[in-house]
Amino acid sequence: MRVMVLVKATEDSEAGLKPSAELTEMFEAMGRFNEELVNAGILLAGDGLKPSSEGKRVAFDGPGRTVTDGPFAETRELVAGFWIWEVKDMAEAVEWVKRCPNPMPGPSEIEIRPFYELADFGDVVTPELAERENQLRARVSGQ
């Protein structure tokens, strides 16, 4: 299953990254963690996001579109970075997240959200499908 792993923003991340020994250390630890994810074959994508002060929001209301400039107030609900992982189940994703070095200088939170998948849209294997499968099998064995 595919999951998005969201690193939630903190006041530090919203303030923007300033070069420091602590930050370098965190980057190194995160680099090692990313390497582990690659070697386990689960990392599909990932990146960090700039503070919400550089972001914009577009609000929808019927035909209306209202654009708001950042920063946005509700810091804990903002996203500072993300990964996309391919894991067997949520339990595996949770275990991997536990191994992640704390992505922030202070207390922080990481949220895991599964993607919608084909199987979520109903069982596609009908008896008809099984019958067609038999025909395909015949075709394949005929090659």
């Binding site: 390497e35 690659v38 070697n39 386990a40 074959g41 689960i42 599909l44 994508a45 996309i84 391919e86 067997k88 189940d89 339990a91 595996e92 949770v94 275990e95 991997w96 084909l118 596609v124 294997v125 009908t126 008809e128 499908l129 099984a130 067609r132 499968e133 025909q135 395909l136 099998r137 015949a138 075709r139 394949v140 064995s141 005929g142 090659q143």
Partner: protein, 430 residues
């Protein structure tokens, strides 16, 4: 965490650690079967210890140390006193006193090498291809015997026996568990790549079972290719295989129609292609090509897949480029099927006559009774306006096809030739 969650958590941790653990133990005891048993024993120990002590800070190192202690006990108990085992025993005893930190450091250094070596062993050419597939899924993929049996529609007993035999064969062969180097590495690597692609293809176009695709096997093959590319990032063919499976898998959702039948590439809804996988595939292909050298079969096949992935619509497909890649592919992967596909690509790029010329170069004996050959010839002839000949080829293809729907499709195309001829006749007679 509630108490009842703990066994599940431990199981998940074990699943994550298992392959590294087996790889490390296999190099130590030079026996994949024993390594797997030792890993399993360490898991059982963790299940009883961790609820009392809590989950250790580095569960991987803990499991490794526990398994190594057990290995020493076992080797001693078996009184393996020949020189080799005595040496292993001494090494182990020393290592055992060095503490978690040392083991952990050693693991970090060696883990890639050990895992790579385990993959090479599981795909060893002394095993039958079926055994390589089963052992790779079991040892590296961590699938249970039951899961493998379900994926291949075999009985559990058959798969279990296949794996037991494979382990025994490897045990008797007395392998070194070193990562092969030089010329041997290339030969062994092609076996590894073939095993992964075999797993992928069984998932992509299942030869048996109730579904046309088995995404579990595709996902497992993709994961194996990703791991391999992580471990050996300088091998263009590994990156080629990775690119190939990522791009092909990007079409999984678009490949099967509402009617349950496979949809040809050119007719698929490209909006349903997985852009993330395409991007990953194109990146891997780009890295393979940057490494240079003459492209091998996987890089070329990935390049073909990439041509389709890059085309926003079927009519945007760069057929001239595809034709050029097939010209190269037939030299590194000679096969009449490649030649047939090459002819199709040339017909799309340079017109039906070009396709017909290339079809004539294929030795008909190599593709006798192969319906796609007359079907392709029929299509070229139809497009060249040679309708009576085209009809004959479609009818021949229909008679060779074992699939009812395909046969109906080919007969419909033969019928279209007849109708087109009748139209011409009517237009010509005043």
């Amino acid at each position: 965490m509630t108490i009842s969650d703990l066994p599940r958590t431990i199981e998940t941790i074990f699943r994550i650690e298992r392959v590294r653990l087996i790889a490390s133990l296999a190099r130590m005891v030079r026996d994949v079967g024993l390594a797997e048993e030792l890993a399993q024993d360490a898991f059982v120990t963790a299940l009883s210890e961790w609820p009392k002590t809590g989950i250790p800070a580095n569960p991987g190192a803990w499991l490794n140390a526990a398994a190594r202690r057990r290995a020493i006990d076992l080797l001693r108990r078996r009184r393996m006193l020949d020189r080799k085992h005595a040496e292993i025993g001494r090494d182990l005893t020393e290592e055992d006193h060095s503490g978690f930190e040392a083991i952990e450091a050693a693991m970090d250094d060696e883990v890639g090498d050990e895992l790579l070596s385990l993959i090479f062993v599981a795909c060893h050419p002394i095993l039958t291809p079926e055994a390589r597939v089963a052992l790779t899924l079991r040892l590296i993929g961590g699938l249970t015997t039951e899961e493998i049996a379900r994926a291949y529609l075999a009985s559990e007993a058959t798969i279990a026996q296949r794996i037991v035999r494979a382990k025994r064969t490897l045990g008797k062969a007395g392998l070194s568990f070193e990562v092969p180097r030089g010329r041997e590495r290339q030969e062994r690597l092609s076996s590894v790549l073939a095993v992964i692609y075999l797993i992928f293809n069984e998932g992509y176009s299942a030869t048996s079972g109730g579904t046309l695709t088995r995404p579990v096997l595709c996902a497992e093959a993709q994961r194996l290719a990703r791991i391999l590319a992580g471990l050996a990032p300088e091998e263009p063919e590994i990156l080629g295989l990775l690119a190939l499976v990522e791009i092909q898998a990007s079409r999984l959702a678009a490949r099967i129609g509402q009617d349950g039948l496979p949809i040809p590439l050119t007719e698929q809804n490209r909006g349903r292609w997985d852009r993330l996988l395409i991007r990953r595939g194109l990146l891997a292909l780009g890295r393979a090509q940057t490494l240079g050298g003459a492209p091998g079969p996987y890089v070329l096949q990935a390049a073909l897949a990439a041509c389709h992935a890059r085309a926003p619509r079927a009519e945007d497909t760069d057929w001239a480029r595809i034709a050029g890649i097939y010209d190269l592919l037939r030299h590194v992967m000679p096969s009449p099927v490649v030649d047939l596909n090459r002819a199709v690509a040339h017909s799309m790029a340079f017109g039906p006559e070009a396709g017909l010329r290339l079809l004539d170069e294929i030795d008909p004996a190599t593709l006798a009774h192969y319906a796609p050959l007359p079907a392709a010839r029929g299509d070229f002839l139809f497009r060249a306006g040679r309708l009576p000949e085209a009809r004959g080829q479609f009818e021949l293809a229909a008679s060779l096809s074992c699939n009812e729907r395909e046969r109906a499709y080919l007969l419909a195309r033969a019928g279209a030739c007849t109708r087109r001829m009748d139209e011409f006749d009517r237009q010509e007679s005043p």
